[in-house]
């Protein structure tokens, strides 16, 4: 029996060891070395990279990443919750609506981000349309700013919020809403007092699924932010490319990972307390 189990686990264990733990170890070793003159790493061993992380310049980037990720997660929750509730409670079109939610995944995220850029740029559909209607004279600054980055993140990750929320809301017995209204709760209060607390596991799962990739996002800030809104992901990428400081890039990415693990632990434990 245990041999059978080992047989089943072995392939994924091999993948995890070869493609996750070994690279992670390499990153860890790199983070403790000195930068080479043309990229790469060399001796001596040092923890200088970790000390540099606490430079206020990088602290600012880290803080920006955290609040952009938090705000994007909050917006995803605000948008995703009513949508998930609507889908869960709709009687006829559940499958169709769920398919519509995941429909964007049929196209590459990169292409969809470019599509947004075509919509938002100065000569894009929105600005030229508004100009043609004489609503504006100058194009609105829709692209290459923090707002555009948040828009791109919310757009990209809202399905990851909707799906786990839908899964919990779908299991919720609609009679509980009847009971709440029967006891004097208006529909709004019923949702607030009954649906929201019972949907907490889904809200936590969805928030983690959105927050984590948002925190490490690099494509969206790079393209939609035009390089002006630098997030941790961009910082890491820069160190390995133009910055040619691999040890520092490795240290920052490990720190990002530690941050994510802390968030998962904190939220995950709260999720267990429920019910």
């Amino acid at each position: 029996m245990s041999r059978l189990r080992a047989t089943f686990v072995a392939p994924s264990a091999m993948v995890m060891i070869l493609l996750f733990f070994v690279p992670l170890l390499i990153v860890f070793v790199y983070s403790l070395l000195t930068r080479g003159p043309y990229g790469g790493v060399m001796k001596p061993w040092t923890i200088e990279s970790y000390i540099r992380v606490f430079d206020p310049l990088y602290g600012e980037i880290l803080w920006r990443s955290v609040w952009i990720a938090l705000l994007s997660t909050g917006l995803c929750l605000l948008l995703g919750f009513p949508l998930a509730l609507y889908i869960a409670r709709s009687s006829t079109h559940k499958t169709l609506l769920l398919n519509l939610v995941v429909l964007p995944f049929w196209t590459s995220f990169l292409i969809r981000t470019y599509a947004w850029m075509f919509l938002l740029r100065d000569t894009g559909l929105i600005n030229s349309g508004l100009e043609a209607m004489h609503v504006i004279r100058q194009p609105l600054p829709l692209l290459f700013n923090t707002g555009a980055v948040i828009l791109g993140l919310v757009y990209g990750y809202v399905p990851f919020m909707v799906l786990p929320l839908y899964a919990t809301l779908e299991k919720l017995d609609p009679v509980l809403l009847d009971a709440a209204e029967d006891l004097g709760a208006s529909p709004w209060v019923a949702v607030l007092r009954v649906v929201v607390p019972l949907a907490k596991p889904g809200m936590i799962a969805g928030s983690l699924l959105v927050f984590i990739p948002c925190l490490g996002a690099y494509l969206t800030p790079d393209l939609m932010g035009g390089g002006k809104t630098v997030m941790v992901g961009n910082l890491v990428q820069n160190q390995f490319t133009t910055g040619r400081d691999w040890p520092f890039g490795a240290a920052v990415s490990l720190l990002l990972m530690i941050l994510v693990v802390i968030v998962i632990q904190a939220l995950g434990r709260r999720g267990e307390d429920l019910i």
């Binding site: 017995d173 009679v175 509980l176 009847d178 009971a179 709440a180 209204e181 029967d182 006891l183 004097g184 709760a185 208006s186 209060v189 007092r193 009954v194 607390p197 019972l198 429920l274 019910i275």
Partner: protein, 344 residues
């Protein structure tokens, strides 16, 4: 209101007249789903403090009727008068009725005490201390003191039902609506909860409108009951009236076993059976025993009569045994024949 009502106390033969104070009145209540009528022109009035049962087979519209009164469905036509005031159209949270749902619908994330306090907390201007006191009072009313910090999944089915009752009764509704409240319990507990429910209703004095498909439950619990069939009302009356003077074959058969012999309806317990030919003073019919079923407290003897109709007799356990093939004689008092009102 203002009508006179004949109340029959089961234990005294005298007929008491009293002015009836109607708390809930349904007038020609109708609910159509697309084309088929779920509830078809029902008129019922429930008196203050009355235990009223609504019975019928599944799909007869009794639960829909309850949901209409609770405000979860809007009637296609007809009126719902609560204390003389039309409530059709007002949402559930503004109606002075409360429902005990079939599976109790307790909030799983709240404790017993929080579940019970839920309704009071929705009302304005009630002090926290008052809520706490009332919750304690409700807990002791349904004998759940000491369980206030438990979650619904940590208590038994019977306790869950009592939480649901307390949660509704704490609001002192004009009518308490109960949707098959005993069906989720196991049979032994069901009988115990039946008497608890009845005594609770007597103590709080609130009118109970009780929906069930179990005729025995309705007969034993209610002051008056209504039998529904395919969305329409068949008959309204006291359990005794309905059992003894059903207005239709449907009511007669729904409330208990009936033998139809030569056009007359007789309950199995009224049928007399003997292996000896009775004297000429009774009008007997001959038959052959087909089967004999032991039910613990009685025997059911199924016979085939000379004219090929079947007749079941319920016989007390008095040592008599009937074997299939036995020739038997069957008779009954004409007073025990069911008087079908509408000439079935």
């Amino acid at each position: 209101m203002g009508e006179w009502f004949q109340a029959r106390e089961p234990h005294c033969a005298s007929i008491v007249f009293q002015k009836v104070d109607t708390v809930l009145e349904l007038r020609a209540l109708t609910k159509h789903y697309l084309t088929h009528p779920a509830v078809n022109g029902i008129s019922i009035s429930v008196a203050r403090g009355e235990f009223f049962a609504l019975v019928g087979p599944s799909g007869c519209g009794k639960t829909t009727t309850l949901r209409l009164i609770g405000g979860f469905e809007e009637p296609t036509s007809g009126e719902i008068l609560l204390d003389g005031r039309q409530v059709a159209g007002t949402p559930p949270y503004q109606r002075d009725v409360s429902t005990v749902f079939q599976n109790y619908a307790l909030f799983p994330h709240l404790t017993v005490a929080e579940n019970i306090a839920f309704g009071l907390e929705r009302r304005n201007h009630i002090a926290k201390s008052e809520i706490r006191a009332k919750v304690q009072q409700s807990l002791s009313l349904v004998q759940l003191s000491g369980k206030e910090t438990r979650k619904p999944h940590q208590i038994s089915g019977g306790e869950r039902q009592r939480v649901a009752l307390a949660r509704s009764l704490i609001l002192e509704p004009k009518v308490l609506l109960l949707d098959e409240p005993l069906s989720a319990l196991d049979p032994k507990l069901r009988k115990q909860m039946r008497s608890e429910l009845k005594s609770l209703q007597r103590r709080v004095g609130i009118a109970f409108l009780f929906v069930t498909h179990d005729q025995e439950e309705a007969l034993s619990l209610s002051d008056r009951m209504a039998v529904m069939n395919q969305g329409s009302l068949e008959q309204v009356g006291t359990p005794r009236e309905l059992y003894r003077q059903p207005s239709s074959r449907f009511v007669a058969e729904f409330l208990g076993g009936v033998n139809w012999v030569n056009g007359a309806g007789v309950r199995p317990e009224a049928v007399r059976i003997s292996r000896e030919r009775p004297g000429n003073h009774v009008h007997w019919i001959g038959g052959v025993v087909e089967a004999c079923t032991f039910l613990g407290n009685c025997l059911h003897v199924e016979t085939r009569l000379a004219n090929d109709t079947r007749c079941t007799a319920e016989v007390a356990q008095n040592g008599f045994e009937f074997v299939p093939g036995d020739t038997v004689y069957i008779w009954w008092n004409t007073a025990d024949e069911l008087r079908i009102g509408n000439g079935a």
